[in-house]
Each structure stands twice: as structure tokens, then as C-alpha cells.
């Protein structure tokens, strides 16, 4: 029983990381219809910078803030290249973000080398209903939940947030009422970058980061986001948590093997079922 609780909480912690990556994807996709392949790179860059800052003696909190800021700036930069040119189709933008993700590899290796990096998070072991787990997982959950609440508030209660939601629901109508859709796209990319960066900064103490860990992050993030059709942040949160728990349960009871497969097969199943429900032809999606 205590094993189960341990796995559950650890899974929620890992899943919260996926959910943050997913929410970044959703924030960008809603507004621009672009699936941002460089989302994992934001996390890696932020984590790498945080590791360096901590190594240079910058206190916790400030170092993490630096990482998230770098994520946001990178997001803005990626957005400027991917959607900055008027008339770029979402399919083209996807390929552009794919290229920028690979470019991030080059930058990361030049600055930080190709060895895995990590830094200490919340030290110690927490006890929860008899289960022992790394205390850092609790921090991940404790940060993720308010972040999602803050996002819900931002999207529904503030002017820029409502402008973003307007672009998401009807680009044309948003343009008509005077919202600069392109600038909103850049704002969405910046927000996505910050969320991706936050995911990287939070999960690195429990999961080492290398320059190419972005593939695992983006695939898991996409898997979480696709549950909500890439447009609903709250479903993405639920999806991320579900994915994290499924993976830790599979790893815990399956002896460590096949945890990658669990998430991926789940994602494939969800997508195929969704496609079967909505019908295969969606020409407007191009």
C-alpha cells in the first residue's frame, strides 16, 4: 500500500512536469495553430542555465528565475522566426520549430557540453502515509498547481489573456476588433517558452538533463496535450498527471522496463480514437 502511494505521488510529480510542457504547447497551439517542436528545447536551455547559475553561486530562486527568463526569451525568438513572417502556414512553422530545436542542440553543446547536468533540489526524503519519496516531487506539484490556476486567471480575467483567448477561438474576428494577431502569437510563444522553462527547471533535480532530453519531453508533453485536442490546458494538466502516474506504476510494478512504451502507446491510442470519432478528413486543419 505504501508502495502504491509512493508511486502515485512520484508519478504526479513527474506528470506535473509533462503537464507544464503540455500547457506551453497548448498556449502556443491555441493562438497560432502551430505545434511547437522546440518546446522541449526551452526546458533544456532553462535547466542548463539554472545549473550554471547555481554552480556560480547564485542562490536558489534567483537561478531558477534566470532559467525561466531564458526559456521565455528563447520562446520569443523561436516565435519570431516561426510565425514572424506573414503568410507562414502552420505546417511550415512546425518544420521551422523542428529545425530550431536541432539548432538548440548546437548552442547547448557549445555552451554546456554534451554531458548530463543536474543540480540539487529540495533535499531529503518526505514521508507520506507511510510512503517514502524524494521531497522534491512535492515541490514540483506545489508549484504546478498554482501555475495552472494563475494561467486560468490570466486567460479569463486579464486583457492580454482575453485577447489571446479571442485569437484562439476566432482569428478573423479577433483581427476585426483590432487585436494584433501576430503580436499575440509572439506573446503566446513567450508564454510557452516560460512554461517550458519552468518544466525544465523544476524536473532537473530528479531527472538529469542532457542536450537531447528534449525529445522525451516534447513527446510526453504532446501526449498530455493531445488528450484535450491541444486546446484545453486543464485537460492537458489531467493528461500529464495521468501519464506520469501510468509511467511510474509501469516502472514500479513492471521492473523498470517498458515505461516509455506505456506513455507512447497511450498517446497513439488516444489520437487514433480521436481521429476515428471526428473522421479522418480535416482539411481546415492545414
Amino acid at each position: 500500500m505504501s508502495d502504491l502511494i509512493g508511486y502515485l505521488v512520484t508519478g504526479l510529480g513527474i506528470g506535473a512536469g509533462f503537464a507544464l510542457v503540455a500547457s506551453g504547447l497548448v498556449a502556443i497551439y491555441r493562438v497560432t495553430r502551430v505545434v511547437n517542436f522546440a518546446q522541449g528545447a526551452f526546458a533544456v536551455l532553462a535547466a542548463m542555465l539554472t545549473a550554471s547559475l547555481l554552480g556560480a553561486g547564485v542562490p536558489h530562486g534567483l537561478a531558477e528565475l534566470g532559467g525561466v527568463t531564458l526559456g521565455a526569451l528563447t520562446g520569443l525568438l523561436v516565435g519570431a522566426v516561426a510565425v514572424g513572417r506573414p503568410g507562414t502556414s502552420p505546417g511550415t512553422s512546425l518544420i521551422v520549430t523542428l529545425g530550431l530545436g536541432v539548432l538548440a542542440y548546437a548552442v547547448e553543446i557549445v555552451i554546456w557540453g554534451d554531458q548530463p547536468r543536474s543540480y540539487p533540489g529540495v533535499p531529503g526524503v518526505a514521508e507520506l502515509a507511510g510512503a517514502r519519496l524524494q521531497a522534491h516531487y512535492l515541490l514540483i506539484i506545489a508549484v504546478t498547481v498554482p501555475v495552472f490556476a494563475l494561467m486560468a486567471w490570466f486567460f479569463t480575467r486579464t486583457d492580454p489573456g482575453r485577447a489571446l483567448s479571442a485569437c484562439a477561438s476566432n482569428r478573423y474576428a479577433a483581427q476585426v476588433v483590432g487585436i494584433d494577431v501576430r503580436r499575440m502569437g509572439l506573446l503566446a510563444f513567450t508564454l510557452g517558452g516560460a512554461l517550458g522553462g519552468l518544466a525544465g527547471v523544476l524536473t532537473t533535480p530528479v531527472q538529469q538533463v542532457t542536450f537531447d532530453s528534449d525529445v522525451a519531453l516534447i513527446v510526453n508533453g504532446f501526449a498530455a496535450a493531445v488528450l484535450g485536442g491541444l486546446t484545453r490546458p486543464v485537460v492537458a494538466l489531467a493528461g500529464g498527471l495521468l501519464l506520469g502516474v501510468a509511467q511510474t506504476l509501469a516502472a514500479g510494478y513492471g521492473g523498470g522496463a517498458y515505461q516509455v512504451e506505456v506513455a507512447l502507446v497511450l498517446m497513439l491510442t488516444v489520437m487514433i480514437v480521436q481521429a476515428a470519432r471526428t473522421g479522418p478528413v480535416a482539411e481546415t486543419a492545414r
Binding site: V35, V96, Y258, V281
Partner: protein
Amino acid sequence: MRRWIPAGLLIAVLALLPPLLPERHLATFVLLALAATVTVGVSLLMGYAGQVSLGQASFYAIGAYAAGLLAVHGVPPLLGLLAAPVIAAVAATLLGAPLLRLRGHHLAFATLAVQLILLSLLAQADWAGGAIGLQGIPRLSIGGFELRADLGYAYAAGSVLLIAVLIARNVIESRAGRGMRAAATSETAAAASGVAIGGYRLAVFALSAAFAGLAGGVYAFYLGYLAPGSFPVLLSIEFVVMAVVGGLGTIAGPLVGAGVIVLLVQLLNTLGTQPGMPGYAPAVLSYAVYAVILVVCVLYLPKGLVPAARSAAGKLRRGSA
């Protein structure tokens, strides 16, 4: 008659170039020809069937492992090489039946997921050598004549490329090819005109997988050693880069794209391994090249090098006439 000129040119290059190359460049030639073979399939898939595959390296891996495993277990290498594309195509058909319901970025992520699953399974499969890899694959032998030198593999890879190009050309010019081109522009219109879209999409997917499998088979015998690490996700992305840069929906595009990128990466590799360069230089330079070429090409030459060159040549001709 004119339509045979490019084919003749290709045959001439593939037949005459290898003996002229110094030994150290033959390896590049082999890898280039194999990459071009896979890219022909990717270009067919993206340009004619409108599907993005970010997992094409998985069929390369399936072909390579199929040929390698068969040969290790005593099947004649040539038979193993012939089985490689068949097994890859069968795998693609089985995977494609559910996956090809997906479109656009969903399909891209689905194919990526398939490759990650395959790599993870291969790393855990003891019968395929696990994470350490499959060792001791015999060399390719055809009728008792064993290919040892790189020159032999240069011809093997060249023949494989030629087969892929000829098949792709015939498919494009067939009735099915026209139907697919129509479907890539508008599925609804094509379906309304009586094109059996589902079947064609699956067939192209299987065909492109067969090309990748065939190239993978040659790769297995050429290197004699296979590991999951030889088929990273980045390899799949490289094939997409080559196809996009060369120009989707043309036959010459994948050849030009693969040629330009492999040669450029090779050049930078030589540059990066010069004394005085840091140890990470080759990797960094190749990542940067893939990324910059892909982004610049997609944004400023969206049709790719070959169509851009053709329209430039057409303008020149009209200008002088």
C-alpha cells in the same frame, strides 16, 4: 527520348564515379547513396501523399535488423537483403493501417512515437543484441562472390538507389500516382473523383518503408554491426531535411537534397576535426547545418532547391529568347 536523359546521367554517375574516388571518400559515397534511397521514399510520402513522417529511420532500422538477424542465423546474405524491404513494407502496412487515419502534426508525432517505441524495444531485446548491438553480421555475398572492399558496397548502394528512383518515377507517372497527387492537394476533391485515397496512402507508406528497408539492409552488411543508437530520432529528421531541401514531389529533389547535405556535413566534419578545433566541433557544426539549412529553406525556398533552380532556369531562357 528526352525523359531518359536524367536516368542515363544518374546511371553514368553511379557507375563511373566510385572507382575514381579515393578510398576514404567511398564511405561517404555509400552513406550518401543509402540516405538518398531513403529520402526518395520520404519525398514520395511528403510530396505526393502529403504525409510527414518523423520516424522513417525506424523502417531503415527494421530493414537493417531484418537483414542482419537473418544473416547472423545462417540465411544467405543476398536472401536477407531481399527480405529487408519486404519485412519493412509489411511492418509499415501493419502500422499504417491504424496510424494513417491521422494527419499533419498528429501523424508526425505518431511516427516519432513509433520510432521511440522501436528503439526502446530493440534496446531491451536480447535476441537482437540489446543495447550493446548486433555483432558479427557477415559480409554481403552474391553468388559465392563476397563483397569485401568499399567499392563493392558503393555499387550495391548505387544499385539500390537506382532501383528506388526508377520505381518512384514509374509510380509517379502511373494512374495511382496522379490520384495521389490530387489527394495531396485536396482529399475531398480526389475522393469525390473516385480516387481510392486510403489504399493509395497506405501503399505509398509501405513503398517508402520498403526503400528505407532496402537501404537499411545494405547498411547492415556494410557496417557489419547494428545498435539501436545507430538509428536516432535525429536520423529521421535528417531524411526530412534532405527531402525538404531538395524539393518535395520531384525525383531529382531527394538526390540533390541528400547530396548537398551529406557533402556539406562531410566538409564541415573535415573542418571540425582539424587540429586546434574543440572536440565538440563536428557534432555542433552538423547540427547547426541541418538546422540553418532547414529553416532558411522552408522560409525562403519553400519548394526546395530543384524546383527553385528549374524556375530560375526557365526565367533565364525566357529572358534571353
